[in-house]
Symmetry: C2
Subunit: 446 residues, 2 copies
């Protein structure tokens, strides 16, 4: 099994400015090539620290991929650091092809090349440049001992195509290595806590299994990460079997293999040929945004209303004033009226409405921050046919709204799949009972 | 100057499942304590790899902070790895306080403690537990040689308060170290490319300056990161002066020190006492969401319309059918009519509308994917008083919509600040001219 290391370069990563998504993406792509990423490091824009990291990470590794540090500005020092490691005491050379690429780039945009960008044509003499169709920074490729080194720009939309088109074909495989592969898959769920989700998996999570299964929770989505090793056909079969086992254990909360909640709902809506509209208060358009994130949403989404004030709810969605007076804007009654109003104004089949208190202000003892009512109305059904759930979401303004959007999508998914409406969702408040939580019903499958 | 290293633990980080935000946050907090983070590493859920990383990262460092690996499941191995390093061949002990915390946690939620969670009460005998008010995983604190080790859970909403309340007070400073501080600040801009933004900074970006200034671009926002070292009052003054210099050089595209575009616009709207409404097509609610992200937005946001079809535009915003027929839904005429329709239906002062082709489908030679028209209408002004800009944004569905939201906010910001409407924005298409780009007007200040 070949081993890789990843190096991310940039002060912004160590200062808290930027979050590094490149390492995660590269590790996933390398795994698809049966190359196991064993380490990832981040260093700042310090020439010596970068050079030291390059030396350390390339020793005893087959592949080192660096990202960042290839921009035009004076804090971009990766080229210099590579030169220090690969050609000590020698100057960087100017790559003619790189220079032409840079001149072309600016000419096409009707601009003169800024002086600073000339630095992007330099490279160590023993390395060659990798083309960049989406930016000015050329990549670099070379070798240190047994380790192949590839250096790519930081911005993902430049780095990713370069990796796929110019690095993957270059990675030299050791003979006999083609046999064993690493295959990965993930399954996600919303509505059970991580502990309960893990409990349902039972022995699937034992460390000496193949595939291994691990769980993480992030923004209320619990992900099972599966990793299978072995000869390809066997690894594939074992992976598929374990994915099925995880999905069975997590039914009905899990929404499919390697797909998001939004993608799952989009697929179901397309197949159902139903149309939906949205009515949002505290989420402010977040639910509509997530629906429209999916290409082809114009096939089922008729749009929405962001009714951020009581007046807007009453004027634009015909929510009766007396409902607002008696129960308050954040209530099951008003949520249902919003959903029904959106339905009536559009002719859609489903209306999905969210009203709540996102915080930090606005909470009371009776309706604390995190109180959210979500309603789903169905065309043809009367008021009794719409369902509303009452939640108390933890966290701050972003978390409450994020969980509300996810809960709304899960409610719609449940309706499209005919999941019983009594199926509880995490953080739901059921009238007259203690806080209901997702209970473990099924025994975990081995 | 004290030095720190950060270790992130978790297969999900190396498999591409999760993006690590903890390292960035911790590095920023440590910098505020004048502790320089010199390295960050990520390892998987592998007991031996974790132990090796702990040994290496703690040698020659003052502080090591680890995140992750403290969950209840069998792939959470950090406690075991710490034991291997700090108390080789000895078993982990059960911490009574931790056990009580766990039992309490589940009792409060009306649940029995799952068996798996017992693992979260184990620790190496030479470490002590750190309280966690927001989760089941206790943190750990100890020392290896001269290095203080702190281990915190992965989820940010648990990790961050624990770091602030239980790690910061514990970090032992070396005598005489109190003198020199590291102070950081950032300034962001939207509307100029990174090259042009850097060019305007000129000598501010030289490496031997204090503070240092570096730039990065991420999702079309260019950030200048400033880092100032020295005795506190001097470092503070130099930082403030350089922040001012950066803001002057980037006028009017930069929107304030250490604040986002959304926060900047929110502040201006509050001060202006004006009300706004939104009308969105391809962005699907994203603009409304970003506005409502800001607490207190109910003071100026009267809500919005997500008019995702031609019919919705005509029915709900009274966009004239002949405008749609003659110019198409994606046109300056329709954008202006959407903005005006939202104004008329609400009594707001400003109406902001976006219509475009996000892709991947829908593009033509005349109107390719990325074509977006954004209009800002003002109450009391006629059709001639509304402004519309025509953009061609690069990238895919998410990028086009993200840039459209940012451009809309910048247009609103320009209007609130009386910035001339001839001030170009990156990716704008001006009629009858080559693609206009943000030109360098001001000379960089030294």
């Amino acid at each position: 099994m070949m081993h890789a290391a990843l190096l991310s370069v940039g002060d912004e990563l160590l200062l808290g400015q930027n979050v590094d998504t490149n390492a995660a993406w590269l590790a996933a792509r390398l795994a698809e090539l049966s190359i196991m990423t064993v380490e990832q490091r981040t260093v700042g824009d310090d020439r010596r620290a970068i050079a030291e990291a390059i030396r350390e990470l390339s020793s005893q590794r087959d592949v080192l991929v660096t990202t960042g540090g290839l921009g035009p500005t004076l804090d971009d020092l990766l080229r210099e650091a590579l030169g220090d490691v690969l050609t000590p005491s020698k100057e960087l050379v100017t790559d003619q092809g790189a220079l032409e690429h840079l001149e072309d780039w600016f000419a096409k945009r009707g601009r003169r090349m800024p002086m600073l960008n000339t630095r992007q044509a330099f490279r160590p003499s023993v390395m060659r440049c990798l083309p960049n169709a989406n930016g000015t920074a050329l990549g670099l490729a070379g070798r240190l001992g047994e380790c192949q080194i590839f250096s790519l720009p930081g911005p993902p939309r430049e780095m990713q195509p370069m990796f796929l088109e110019h690095v993957v074909p270059e990675i030299r495989r050791r003979p006999g290595e083609l046999e064993e592969v690493i295959l990965t898959a993930s399954v996600q769920e919303f509505g059970m806590s991580e502990s309960e989700a893990a409990q349902r998996l039972g022995p699937l999570m034992e460390r000496d299994r193949n595939p291994t299964v691990g769980t993480t929770a992030s923004d209320a989505i619990v992900t099972a990460r599966l990793r299978s090793r072995g000869p390809k056909p066997i690894a594939q079969r074992q992976l598929d079997e374990t994915v099925d086992a995880v999905e069975r254990a997590w039914r009905p909360y899990s929404f499919g293999r390697s797909q998001s909640l939004g993608e799952s709902v989009a697929k179901l809506l397309r197949q159902s040929r139903q149309k939906i509209v949205t009515a949002e208060s505290c989420t402010g358009g977040w639910l509509g945004k997530v629906i429209v994130d999916q290409p082809g949403s114009s096939g089922y989404y008729l749009g929405g209303w962001i009714t951020y004030s009581n007046q807007a709810k009453m004027e634009r969605l015909r929510v009766p004033a007396d409902l607002v007076e008696r129960h308050g804007a954040v209530s099951a009654h008003v949520a249902k009226a919003m959903a029904q109003g959106a339905l009536d104004a559009s002719g859609a089949d489903y209306g999905l409405a969210i009203t709540g208190i996102a915080g930090p202000d606005g909470g009371t003892a009776e309706k604390p921050v995190g109180t959210v009512h979500i309603a789903l109305a169905r065309k043809g059904g009367g008021k009794s046919d719409s369902i509303a759930r009452h939640f108390e979401f933890p966290g701050g303004r972003m978390e409450v709204r994020d969980r509300a959007v996810k809960a709304a999508l899960q409610m719609l998914r449940f309706a499209l799949l005919d999941v019983p409406t009594t199926t509880p969702l995490l953080w739901e408040k059921i009238e007259g009972a203690r806080t209901q939580v997702a209970r473990v019903h099924a025994s975990p499958s081995p």
